[in-house]
Symmetry: C2
Subunit: 420 residues, 2 copies
């Protein structure tokens, strides 16, 4: 495909997307295909000879669209929202067009540098303490990861690194392997499946402690569990606080968790995957009080902040523990700029990096802080409106309303049926 | 931004990419900016009010381009290639446009189904045994991951899961934690940094065994290390074979490793990140002989097969061990189609998934198998041509030539300086 053909194909694809959004309201949200539907529509093998882009584009309607669940339809209400916006789509396209791999600063300086700047912008927009920013001359900073799952796992590894270093410095009689075998992590039973998965991935038992009737894990429950485990000879290492749980968007209290974690030398990670976007609006920042106690903080602009998946924002107060957990240097990765810019490859699982900062930058500039605030407030007002409508219906009762999430149920359900 | 503005912005961005490729040959490959260059060009905070897309697009030239390393310039020779192509770019754009999250089959059936089909196409194109395909009615299958780093780590976790299950079934007197503490993994000292990192991430010591003078880890060396470790009471669990090492693109022999791993019940993983694309050409498949012994196989279409980053292809003979390592179910993730299609979220770290199959499909269809073969053969012929030119120059000597990689050095260097 030559450049001229790309101009045509690319513009036809832009129109395809635009037409899709013009008609999305009228599309049936859920596809009615059966598993295996696509195999019958497509050859068993790749074509031997190349086909025209026109044929491929036409097949989107015939093969792909029947199997698309329309997440951006105004009638889609499943799961959490997946953010998207036109500026984000164009940012993604340009990132694919440049096609560099940002595996080090020198591999494409703009990749690292725009990420440093946009993560500072974003951290300031949600009111994070300066220690979390790249601009504080301290060891903190922000990075874009692919998903909250990755972030929760990575923060767990950093927590492990710090705890092992701390105990070694105290001249423990335990070997490193014995220390690791005793480490334990905590979160709420309301936390996302990815939190439990982080424990599995990182070989650290993750105790999911019972939340109260409002879906909040209380500090007293956490403190008690930690005491129990210490008596058993275990070493509490990592706590994941939820700001916006998956089932009801409940908020743990960082002011309760913080002093406990500080006293015990436990790494406090904040999972605000969905709700974190709300902190762009000052009126919701009270839900984030105590964030100064946190060691790492995460929210997903790809959930509620108009940036298309994937864009998971992570900040740490001290990146040293990430770097030490991940650093595997090779002669082919060295360059002359060591220490002058963050080498994000040591902050993440993969070596390569896409230019995800570009779409984040586009979204922040084209909407502006006010545009994003307006978007958040609009979602929350829609949830309130829906909740009022449900409240007027005799058949249903609202069991919780938080941010854009309304949980309701049929009246008169027995307790065991009460899954909100 | 409304749909009309998106049509304009999107098409302007297509032209921007097209213009970039029209001028890329004349651009200076390496930027001459210094660390921190971008901070001086950009405000300290996000704008309060939204800006126009025209302003943002103009800033690409002023702010971003000076810090781009031109990976797709014909004069770029660093690292490994990062694949890109116009069909891949358009596929990425459409994937961003649809903006679904493929966290389960029902979350967007086309996402799972196109991945099943394209991974079968791709597996057949490189000559993988049928056991690795989704179409074999067996427990095998292919999945697209983000990077070889992730894949090597994920395969390690599956290996651990299988070994623990196997020993438990043999009524070992060891506890699960004791088993895990004794597991050990092996690879070549020529393997990529990500292999060592996988050991760190997965809490399994990774022994990097010395390769021979041709960069190949011999089966005899592997067998000896395994015997040593067994005598020490360790439990050999995981071997990563390199088909195309990072320093010289050397090929370990799966025919040597395979019987050793089979005898010892060791999970054999194949890292063919770069060179795997060459197996699209039948004349290079001899380098893959013995692949029937492997438990998992990985190569990156995003390195050499014209698909833009990220697209890392992974196949396993038995996905059960991945699913068991990763499965954390929740009520909000259940649906009525369980078991009828692969639930890829149990095969990977993250919960969410992009529609990466779309760009892979576009590339395979628009180039066809012959087009991809032609691309591979052209790269290899260029390397041969370059190697001949170096050979004619009295100052240099070629130390290895394999696939698209030529390693050469100044003549007369001392041994310690001989880093190819």
């Amino acid at each position: 495909m030559d450049i001229g053909e790309f101009r045509e194909f690319g513009k036809a694809a832009v129109d395809y997307i635009a037409d899709y959004f013009e008609t999305i309201r009228d599309r049936q949200v859920m596809p009615d295909v059966k598993p295996g539907y696509l195999e019958d529509l497509i050859p068993k093998d790749a074509p031997n000879n190349g086909e025209s882009w026109q044929e491929v584009l036409q097949d989107l309607d015939r093969i792909i669209m029947p199997g698309i669940t329309h997440w951006h339809s105004p009638n889609f209400h499943a799961f959490y929202p997946s953010a998207n916006s036109f500026p984000g789509i164009v940012g993604e396209m340009l990132s694919a067009g440049f096609g560099c791999i940002g595996l080090s600063w020198i591999a494409s300086p703009a990749y690292t540098e725009l990420e440093v700047v946009t993560m500072n912008w974003l951290g300031k927009m949600i009111g994070l303490p300066e220690e979390f920013l790249n601009c504080s001359d301290g060891p903190g900073g922000g990075i874009i990861q692919g998903s909250a799952s990755e972030v929760t796992f990575i923060a767990l590894l950093a927590a492990k690194e710090r705890k092992v270093a701390e105990l070694k410095a105290q001249n423990t009689t335990l070997t490193e392997s014995e220390i690791k075998g005793k480490l334990i992590a905590y979160s709420s039973d309301q936390s996302n499946s990815s939190v439990e998965k982080a424990g599995l991935l990182g070989s650290m038992p993750m105790r999911l402690l019972p939340a109260d009737e409002n879906g909040i894990l209380r500090g007293t429950v956490l403190a008690k569990a930690i005491e129990e485990d210490k008596r058993k000879g275990l070493i509490p290492c990592y706590v994941v606080a939820n700001l916006g749980t998956t089932p009801t968007c409940a908020f743990d209290s960082l002011e309760e968790f913080g002093p406990i974690c500080q006293k015990e030398g436990i790494w406090l990670h904040v999972d605000a995957a969905y709700a974190g976007t709300a902190f762009v609006c000052p009126e919701y920042r009270y839900l984030c009080r105590g964030v100064e106690y946190a060691d790492s903080f995460n929210f997903n602009p790809h959930k509620w902040m108009l940036v298309n998946f994937d864009c998971s924002a992570m900040w740490v107060k001290n990146a040293k523990y990430l770097v030490e957990a991940f650093n595997v240097e090779r002669i082919y990765l060295e360059d002359a700029h060591k220490g002058m810019a963050p080498e994000y490859r040591h902050w993440q699982i993969a070596l390569g990096r896409r230019f995800r900062a570009l779409k984040l930058w586009f979204v922040m500039r084209i909407y502006g802080v006010e545009g994003i605030q307006k978007h958040v407030r609009h979602h929350i007002s829609l949830a309130k409106h829906f909740s009022e409508l449900v409240g007027k219906d005799n058949r249903f009762e609202v069991c919780s309303l938080s941010m854009g999430l309304v949980c309701f149920r049929l009246k008169g359900m027995t307790h065991s049926q009460k899954h909100c």
